[in-house]
């Protein structure tokens, strides 16, 4: 078990390395020169090409942009190892601080999303499998398919118009993570306030994954139900509830857990649009703003962390798989 963990961690290293290489290569695609961009805004008042060129040069040296590519890469790697992602080009604040501020928000959003998706998809998929080809199965298939095809930003806009600040109902706030004076609320009140703000964004993030996961759950459940042990359990006279819950569902859940690894990174990317629409200061929005401003350190850090989170979630779901399924051991069979 521990050996498996160590082996997996070791396998992660070359992948991690590859991630840093690719991230760095991408950033260097840029034709724009951040030093020039930076200098331009600062030296608008300055006249004369010479003065401008000198400022650009100095800025370049300051950020170490005058070194060849591999030197910059090695330097960046060393910094990363110390968890120092440098300072943002935009406002000179340390990149880590910015990300550390945004990360918990995005994580909250995504973890809530994953929880809700699982809580809803598993029963839906399981029931559709139990009553296969029945009305529930067919109806849910159509509904889920429609949900899957709806573009998330359209749904977000429709929700804002109908349920948010528009002319119709005004049930939910449409901007931000919490109200302005939320810090004055009690602990419970604060959670309630944040939750109230998150209803619409989380809705937009969850509905697309329902289809995928409940389909999977249905397929897995169908396979399990056909097994002999389920038939035996039923023949033994166990109640349907016990058969389903204790025997069938548990086994059907196993492949679903591994999907968690693939769900999370998709959510990270999907949050870019949703966070932008609902003005939530999370990583997606930070990423978008940095991309607009060509803020290299932040973009690199975000891409790296995104890929890192993906790796970690894949590792976690693999571990979960091993924990949950007693048939899987990694000791050599003697």
């Amino acid at each position: 078990m521990i050996l498996y963990l160590i082996k997996r961690l070791l396998l992660m290293i070359p992948t991690l390395f590859g991630i840093t290489v690719i991230t760095f290569l991408i950033i260097n695609l840029a034709p724009g020169d951040p030093a020039a961009l930076k200098a331009q805004s600062a030296t608008d008042a300055l006249k004369g090409e010479a003065a401008m060129a000198e400022v650009v040069d100095q800025t370049r040296k300051l950020y170490g942009l005058d070194q060849p590519v591999y030197v910059r890469y090695a330097r960046w790697l060393k910094q990363i190892a110390k968890l120092d992602f440098g300072n943002s080009y935009r406002d000179h604040r340390p990149v880590i601080r910015k990300i550390a501020a945004a990360l918990p928000i995005t994580l909250t959003l995504n973890i809530l999303t994953v929880l809700i998706v699982y809580i809803i998809s598993i029963p839906v998929g399981a029931y559709a499998a139990l009553k296969a080809r029945g009305w529930f199965d067919r109806l849910s298939a159509i509904l889920l398919f429609i949900l899957y095809s709806l573009p998330s930003f359209w749904v977000a806009m429709m929700l804002i118009v109908w349920l948010g600040g528009g002319d119709y109902l005004n049930l939910f706030p449409i901007v931000g993570f919490m109200s302005d004076n939320a810090s004055r609320l009690s602990w419970i009140g604060w959670i309630g306030n944040v939750g109230w703000h998150l209803v619409l964004p989380v809705t937009c993030l969850t509905y697309a994954s329902f289809a995928f996961l409940s389909r999977f759950q249905r397929a897995s459940m169908l396979e399990v139900i056909r097994q002999d042990y389920v038939r035996t359990a039923r023949a033994k006279g166990l109640s349907e509830w016990r058969v389903v819950w204790h025997h069938a569902l548990r086994n059907a859940l196993i492949p679903i857990l591994t999907l968690m690894g693939t769900l999370l990174p998709g959510l990270l990317a999907g949050s870019v649009i949703i966070e932008q629409i609902f003005a939530i200061p999370g990583m997606g929005r930070l990423g978008f703003e940095s991309v607009l401003a060509r803020d290299y350190p932040v973009i690199m850090a975000l891409t790296f962390i995104g890929a890192l989170l993906t790796l970690i979630s894949v590792l976690l779901s693999d571990l979960l798989y091993v924990l949950v399924d007693p048939r899987i051991t990694f000791r050599r069979q003697t």
Partner: protein, 330 residues
């Protein structure tokens, strides 16, 4: 039961049995036709006109003496011997009609007008060109690169496989949309860049598929037979391997088009897509955002267009997947 039938004919027969899938295919074909015929469907220049005894087709080709002419005004003048046929939607995507701004759907503008008086239906029709072209080109790139790497990895195996598999794994770790955004920020969001970038970020999935199929078929008898028959080059074996490996790729490509269209719409929505001079469905939606308090219905048309297109491709993809599955043969 049946006389020998080619594989593709078999799949087509199975596909036809699904009503929903066929409906999706019809929608796709209609969209395709609309996109190709866009200049003939929505144009502020007449399709055909006769003036002073001479015929001309201003919608397709504008001769120099007709440049800058406002054809509607000309039609209104009712000169002698003037004859004009306009397109079904007599507005171009960039025809400003400032007196008629933010109109609800009416007789003149079938789907209303946007904040600058442009006809929504015309913009939808021309926008389909962008969505469809981005979808197909991006998926084309994805499939070509994916097949290349997949075959290299699956067929040759060994260290090449190891290297390519690592590469695929690394690429799949990146959150796709954010990666696309990042690359586009650096190379600039033009329509060609968008196509290429979307294509470059989706190939790992296809490569994995192809690799799996190649691994599966590598040890089959027909490959051994071909080798024994002195297959001149690996190329010939690829001609045996590839046709079998392609069916899941076709399914993946169909879903890929839907996904590419969605990504393009999202990019345009965020303001990072095609330049605003060419109307894209996503930019239509983002334009509608500004007027949500006075004209919220502006979001309905482009959103529904995106939804319909994506649904059609998804339905066809599902239908294809079921048609290929040998367990579901009826």
């Amino acid at each position: 039961m049946n006389s020998s039938q080619s594989y593709s004919a078999l799949i087509w027969r199975q596909f036809k049995k699904g009503r929903l899938a066929v409906a999706g295919l019809i929608v796709i074909v209609i969209l395709f036709v609309v996109a190709i015929l866009a200049p003939l469907l929505a144009n502020d220049r007449p399709l055909m006109m006769r003036s002073g005894g001479r015929w001309s087709f201003p919608a397709i080709h504008l001769s120099n003496d007709l440049r800058g002419v406002d054809f509607k005004v000309m039609a209104g003048e009712k000169k002698e011997g003037l004859f004009m046929i306009f397109a079904p939607v007599p507005f171009g995507p960039n025809t400003y009609d400032l007196p008629h701004v933010l109109e609800k759907p009416n007789r003149v503008h079938f789907l209303g007008t946007d904040g600058e008086g442009r006809d929504i239906l015309a913009q939808l029709i021309w926008g389909s060109r962008i969505s469809l072209s981005v979808g197909f080109v991006a998926v084309g790139i994805t499939v070509i690169i994916g097949i290349l790497f997949g075959v290299l990895a699956g067929f040759y195996g060994g260290s090449i496989d190891l290297l390519i598999s690592r590469f695929i794994e690394v690429m799949m770790c990146f959150p796709t949309f954010f990666l696309i955004l990042a690359i586009l920020a650096f190379v600039g969001p033009s329509i060609y860049n968008i196509m290429v970038v979307i294509g470059l970020t989706s190939w790992p999935g296809v490569a994995r598929l192809v690799r799996g199929e190649c691994l599966k078929f590598r040890s089959r008898e027909f490959v051994t037979a071909a080798r024994l028959a002195g297959a001149r080059n690996r190329r010939i074996i690829l001609r045996h391997l590839l046709p079998n490996a392609l069916s899941p790729v076709l399914v993946s490509a169909t879903f890929g088009v839907a996904s590419a269209i969605l990504v393009e719409a999202s990019l345009s929505f965020l303001g990072f897509g095609v330049p605003p001079s060419s109307a894209s469905w996503g930019s239509l939606l983002s334009g509608a955002q500004d007027f949500m308090d006075v004209a919220w219905w502006l979001t309905l048309a482009p959103g529904f267009a995106i939804f319909l297109t994506i649904t059609a491709y998804n339905v066809v993809g599902e239908g294809l997947r079921d048609a290929i599955d040998p367990n579901l043969r009826t």
